[in-house]
């Protein structure tokens, strides 16, 4: 997040890279996306998957030693990977910039994750596999498939490889990977988190378990086709673009089925709001989930995309999802989980409330600044003069964006400040304590979240 705030500042004051290649926008922005997606997002998913799979399967983790190895391997791969990006290694694929040695390391760690997770499911003590585990399972299988296919490359040296795909084929594979990373990691994976922690936190059963299963299969089937909407009006077949658009629109149905399920589940938990700061994060995360999963299909419509593509609107959309949905639900989960793991109450509920308002304000300000910038940019890119020529130069348009970039920088700073407060709050909560060990819960009813 700090890297994100720094690159946001570089767009306002371009010389603050001080002439250092490692601090140049291209490298730092890549480090930002890699660290947030794989460092923050995937770490949160692996941690919560290991916790909830034990509770819902009523057994201890399969191969706990391997689980620790996954932890160390993952952290080492991401930290060293980020350093390699700052040093200029780059495989040239968006959101998959890590070079081949790191791709191999990630694959090994992921296989470990799969063995521990599915091993635990295999020795479960109840027949049903709880819905959160279906989402986590889909995350593991699909991300493995995407990562391996998209990263196929011919290594030349330790720090350089060339992709097996070229031209339009490369673009299609890239966005098949890119969009499904959004789908199965940032949406599906975090829905796994939602389906376990939302009922736990609100102390309510899921409003409709049947709906959650239907939504899961519809989601899994539809999402995998949506990638080509990143390539509207590009040199890929027209039918492929239309297919991507149609599947993106259909995707709204399963996404919102989950939204309704979440909102109805939490609607019975009014009494807990006062005492539980974590629940607020989850409630607002659902609102932003609703926004992001509506805005996505809308931006996939070709007549909207022709305008929004290559503008800040896309960046705003990504962040209303990443900050408003992924980060808020993760914060809510941390506030729920850390006190339970430490066997102590949260150090300060007041700080958590301040964090909530900083996170909410930062996300809204970010989205509004990028909507303003995106719509202006759309008009400016496409404006024609009397002769039918492009009316404004790239420089003119970028100069006009500066005030929005300043607003976005402030929004990012607010969000980051909230995250720092949380880190301090959680560190104080666990200070001087050891993680408590509890036995897996007794079976109270098949399939019920424990």
């Amino acid at each position: 997040m700090t890297a994100g705030v720094y690159v946001a500042a570089e767009l306002v004051w371009p010389t603050i890279d001080w002439g250092l290649p490692a601090l140049s926008f291209g490298r730092l922005r890549t480090a930002h996306t890699t660290l947030v997606l794989f460092g923050f997002g995937v770490s949160a998913l692996i941690g919560t998957a290991f916790y909830s799979v034990q509770r819902t399967s009523h057994v201890r983790l399969f191969a706990p030693g391997l689980a620790w190895a996954v932890f160390y391997a993952w952290q080492a791969a991401i930290v060293l990977g980020a350093v390699s990006i700052l040093a200029g290694w780059n495989a040239g694929k968006e959101y998959a910039e890590l070079e081949w040695p790191f791709d191999l390391a990630i694959t090994a760690a992921w296989v470990g994750f799969a063995i521990v997770f599915f091993g635990t499911i295999a020795k479960r003590k109840v027949d049903a596999i709880y819905i959160s585990n279906w989402f986590y399972g889909a995350l593991i299988i699909v991300v493995a498939m995407l990562h391996i296919v998209n990263s196929l490359a011919l290594p030349v040296t330790a720090g350089k490889s060339y992709s097996l795909f070229a031209g339009a084929q490369d673009a299609v594979v890239q966005w098949w990977y890119g969009h499904n990373a959004v789908g199965f990691l940032l949406t599906g994976g975090f829905l796994g988190m939602l389906y376990y922690f939302l009922p736990k936190q609100s102390e309510q059963p899921i409003w409709s378990y049947r709906l959650s299963i239907i939504a899961f299969w519809a989601f899994v089937y539809t999402y995998i086709w949506a990638g080509p909407h990143h390539l509207h009006y590009h040199a890929v077949p027209e039918w492929l673009q239309s297919l991507g658009m149609v599947m993106s629109l259909i995707l709204l149905a399963p996404s919102w089925a989950t939204l309704v399920n979440g909102i109805m589940t939490v609607s019975g938990a009014a009494g807990k709001l006062k005492t539980d700061p974590a629940l607020k994060f989850i409630v607002l995360a659902l609102a932003f989930y609703g926004l992001a999963t509506f805005e996505g299909p809308m931006l996939a419509i070709k007549s909207v995309n022709v305008f929004s593509h290559f503008t800040e609107w896309t960046i705003g959309h990504v962040h209303s999802g990443a900050l408003g949905w992924n980060a808020l639900i993760t914060f809510g989960t941390f506030y729920f989980l850390v006190p339970r793991l430490a066997g102590a109450p949260l150090y300060s509920a007041r700080l958590a409330n301040i964090h909530f308002w900083l996170a909410l304000g930062g996300t809204i300000l970010y989205a509004l600044a990028m909507w303003g910038a995106g719509v202006s940019q759309g008009v400016l890119w496409l404006s024609l003069d009397e002769l039918g020529e492009v009316r404004f130069s790239f420089n003119d348009v970028m100069a006009a964006m500066r005030p929005y970039y300043l607003l976005r920088f402030l929004a990012g700073l607010m969000f980051l400040a909230g995250a720092v407060l949380m880190a301090w709050n959680l560190a104080r909560t666990v200070a001087g304590r050891r993680t408590i060990l509890v036995a897996p819960p007794a079976i109270v009813g098949a399939g019920a979240p424990a």
Partner: protein, 203 residues
């Protein structure tokens, strides 16, 4: 006897929101009264301001202004008005639909009144459309929007007669819908631009 619902009462929201919320809860105004005595006129403000601002100054996007022909500006403003009304009515209907889940009042009049009050600062704040510099509009309307959210969270439990906790949950669920409505407005807008109702762009 509480004051009857009117546009004047909505004006009071700017100074004493608590009183207005209590008055509406006590009066439970009819849907027709809220719509014709308040919301309709408030909804006229943004398109009117936008019309005069655009005709006078053009759209200011940070470079030279973009001027549009009068008939295009008129068409945009009429569609803007229609979109605002549809947004307003649909939000009230959604609120009424949600009310059963949160043990809140299902009176359409109250739901409309709540939405009119929540939207009132935006309607008044849209005076900034008189100078259609986009960044200036963002700067002014962001704090106004935050104020609207505050009114929603504070007013909903009173106007719809539910507890503060349920009110908070219902307001959050409504925020989800309102965010979607807001982004729909953007989507509809650019789709219209692409079909010729808007600035001269090559698509």
């Amino acid at each position: 006897m509480p004051a009857r619902f009117s546009i004047l009462q909505i004006g009071k929201v700017l100074f004493a929101p608590g009183e207005v919320f209590n008055a509406i809860a006590a009066e439970s105004p009819s849907a027709g009264r809220v719509f014709f005595r308040g919301a309709l006129w408030l909804g006229l403000l943004p398109p009117l301001f936008a019309y005069f601002g655009t005709m006078e100054f053009g759209w200011r996007l940070g470079v030279e202004p973009v001027y549009l022909p009068q008939e295009t500006v008129l068409a945009i403003c009429v569609i803007y008005f229609a979109a605002l009304l549809i947004g307003f009515l649909s939000s009230a209907i959604i609120a009424r639909w949600m009310a059963a889940t949160y043990d809140a009042s299902q009176s359409l009049g109250r739901c409309l009144a709540l939405m009119a009050i929540v939207g009132a600062p935006l309607a008044v704040g849209s005076i900034v459309h008189l100078y259609p510099h986009v960044f200036l509009n963002v700067l002014v309307l962001v704090p106004v929007l935050i104020w609207c959210m505050y009114l929603l969270y504070r007013g909903l439990p009173v106007v719809l007669g539910t507890g503060p906790n349920r009110g908070m949950l219902m307001a959050s669920a409504l925020i989800a819908y309102l965010l979607v409505a807001l982004v729909s407005l953007l989507g509809i807008m650019v789709a219209l631009w692409g079909s010729g109702i808007g600035p001269r762009i090559g698509t």
